[in-house]
Structures are given as C-alpha cells and as structure tokens.
C-alpha cells in the first residue's frame, strides 16, 4: 500500500493517535446508521437463524417471532400452546458489535476510501454469518440446558456441555472480540509497520 500517495501522517501526530481520534469520531454516525438499520437487520437475522435451525429439525418446530423492535421469542410449535414461548431475548444485543466494527474499519488513516469500504464490506459479511450462527447456538443452548426435564430427556451430557460452551464462547468473547479480530486480520500488518522505535542516534545500544 503506497502510504505517501494517500494521506501522509501530519507533523508528529502518530498513526495510532489519528486512528483513535477517528474511531471516536466515527462512533456517532455509525451508531446512528446501526440504529436505523436495526429493525430490518433483526428481521433478517431472525429469519436466517430460523431457516438454519430448520435444517437441523425434522419436522420444523422452531419459530423466532418478534415481540417488538428489539425483542423476540424462541417458540416451539410442538409444545402445548400455553408453554410454546420458551424464551424471550433481545435480538439487538446479538449485533451491537457492528458499532465497533464500523468505527474501527472506517477510522484507519492512510487507506484509500475504496479499500476501506471494501475491507469493511468483507468484515460485515463475516459478521452477518457470525450473528446467524450465534443466534442458532443461542436457541440450541436454550433447548439443551434451559428447559429443565425436557432438556435432560432430549440432550445427553456431551451435547449439553458442547452447546453450553459454544454459546458461552460465541456470546461473550467472540462476539465482543470479533471487531478487533477482523480489524487485525485486515490491518495488523499496517499497524506493525507503524510501530514506534527508539531514535537511531549514537550512544544507545538498542539500534
């Protein structure tokens, strides 16, 4: 990437300082856009996760109906109507990492806009797949560990532990770390090239 042709670092302001400033500045517009798109994305996410769940069910028994703008239910059609809504959850909580993702990818200084947007596009695509799988594992873990006797009779110890651990790992560390992980995947090389080293002046042994 020819650094000098795009935006040469201004006098003494480091790449990292520019990046941090840009991330903070991008948070608000990204947040507004995320807020606008959230209802549509929630619908898309629920529909996609429902389809993925149906691939593992025969017959199809899981529905993910919306309760309101942010919340939805896990519903099992094979349960008695009074007990069919087995769990309520906030869909919006699944994908708020888009705030960090958008701000981090748009804030990188010294990268042409076209490439920034292209990288962001790939990162968003990966994140969408991640969100669908996260919702899938969320529902599966509800079935495996949170429905009392029904869970115990339908899932063995290995399945309960596996679904529980998958949800624990996807829902906290990887959901929260995904923006950083993706950002590092695209820009770590750039960051390694921007590290500050001691001045190469005489006397010191470190140069």
């Amino acid at each position: 990437m020819p650094r000098s042709k795009t935006s040469p670092p201004p006098a003494r302001r480091s790449w990292a300082a520019l990046l941090i400033r840009n991330v903070l500045l991008w948070l608000i517009p990204v947040g507004l856009l995320w807020g606008l798109l959230t209802p549509a994305y929630n619908r898309f996410l629920l529909g996609s996760a429902e389809n993925l769940l149906h691939l593992t069910e025969s017959p199809d028994v899981t529905d993910l109906p919306r309760l309101d703008r942010h919340r939805a239910y896990v519903q099992r059609r094979d349960f008695p109507p009074a007990k069919s809504l087995v769990r309520q959850f906030r869909v919006t909580d699944v994908h708020f990492h888009f705030l960090l993702l958008g701000a981090l990818f748009l804030a990188v200084p010294g990268i042409p806009w076209r490439q920034r947007l292209e990288n962001l596009g790939w990162a968003v695509l990966i994140t969408i797949f991640f969100d669908i799988f996260l919702l899938f594992f969320f529902v599966k873990s509800v079935y495996a560990i949170q429905l009392g006797d029904w869970s115990l009779s339908h899932y063995g110890p290995f399945a309960r532990n596996a679904y529980g651990l998958a949800r624990h790992l996807l829902d906290l560390p990887f959901k929260l770390a995904l923006p950083l992980l993706l950002w590092a995947g695209f820009y770590l090389e750039r960051m390694l090239g921007e590290r500050v080293a001691p001045r190469a002046s005489g006397g010191g042994g470190s140069t």
Binding site: T92, L99, L100, P173, F174, A197, R199, S206
Partner: protein, 183 residues
Amino acid sequence: MSRRQEHAPDRATFPGQRRRREATFLALFVLLLAGGFTLISLHWVNGHVVEPFTAGIAQVSGAALDLLGQDVRMQGTIIRSPRFAVNIRNGCNGVEAMLIFLAAVLAFPAPWRSRLVGLALGILVIQAVNLVRVVALFLTGAYFPRFFDSSHTVIWQTIVILSGVLLWIFWATRFARPAEPAV
C-alpha cells in the same frame, strides 16, 4: 512516552514473514481468548476467583455510589438502594474486556517487559472504565429506568470493549516496540 522516539516503520521483515506473523497473532489471539473464557467458565474458577473479584467490584462501586450521595446497601454482588437494585454478574465485571485485552497483548509480538507493563496499565484502565459503567448504570436504573436496557448492553458494553481495543492499539504502536529495531 519518551521524546527520544521517532516514527520508524517495521521494515525488518519480508512480506511472507509479516503474513506469518499476522497469522500467528490471529491464531494465538483466538486460542488465548477461547482458553481464557473456558477457564473462567469452570465452576471452581468462577466460585473461587470470578465471584470474589465481582464482589470486590460491587464493594468499590457501592462505595463510589455512597460518595455520590446514594443510600446503597451491599449484599454480595448486589447493590441495593430504595430506588433501584443491581446484581453485578459476569459480563458486567470487566473480566471479558480484560481477557480480550490480555489475549491481544500476549499474542502481539513484543518484548515481555512491554507486555507486562501493558497488561498492568490496561487492566487498571479497563477496571476504572468499568467502575464508571457500574456507577452510571446504577444511576440510569434509578433515575432513567427506560434507558437501562440499552445502556446496559449496547452503550456501556461497547464503551468498555472499545476502551480495551483502543488501549491495545495505543500500546501496540507506542510501547510494544519491535524487539529488533531497524538500523
């Protein structure tokens, strides 16, 4: 940061080496992250390390709220006042942000001394931000309960993780200087 520093691109490596370094970082980061979170999910670790740590955070947060004139009572990890009560659980104790920061620092190619300094400072800053989060969330719940849900997950979770990420970027570019600087 010392003034005796200058911008010196990391030019000691070939593209292939850089890619390998990048892949190593990503693999180590994922492994450390998964390992760390699996470790804290064990009952013994949760009961003997995470819960006491969370109770300590609740105590400090309660003391801070007391200083702000809130009539709070402590009960383990629960902070209670006549207006509102909050139970500090995993996800609200800053441990997640600390583990993400720790995994990123340990996976990054840097001298151990820089890593240890980064970890010590990073953990302090993350916990300070988390203390502000708990206090702010309690006040939000007490006075603006309508905004509690969004603040709890979306806003403050983002702020705490963001503080860890920005701190890591700052540390990685300013303090974790290459082990063998370019001549």
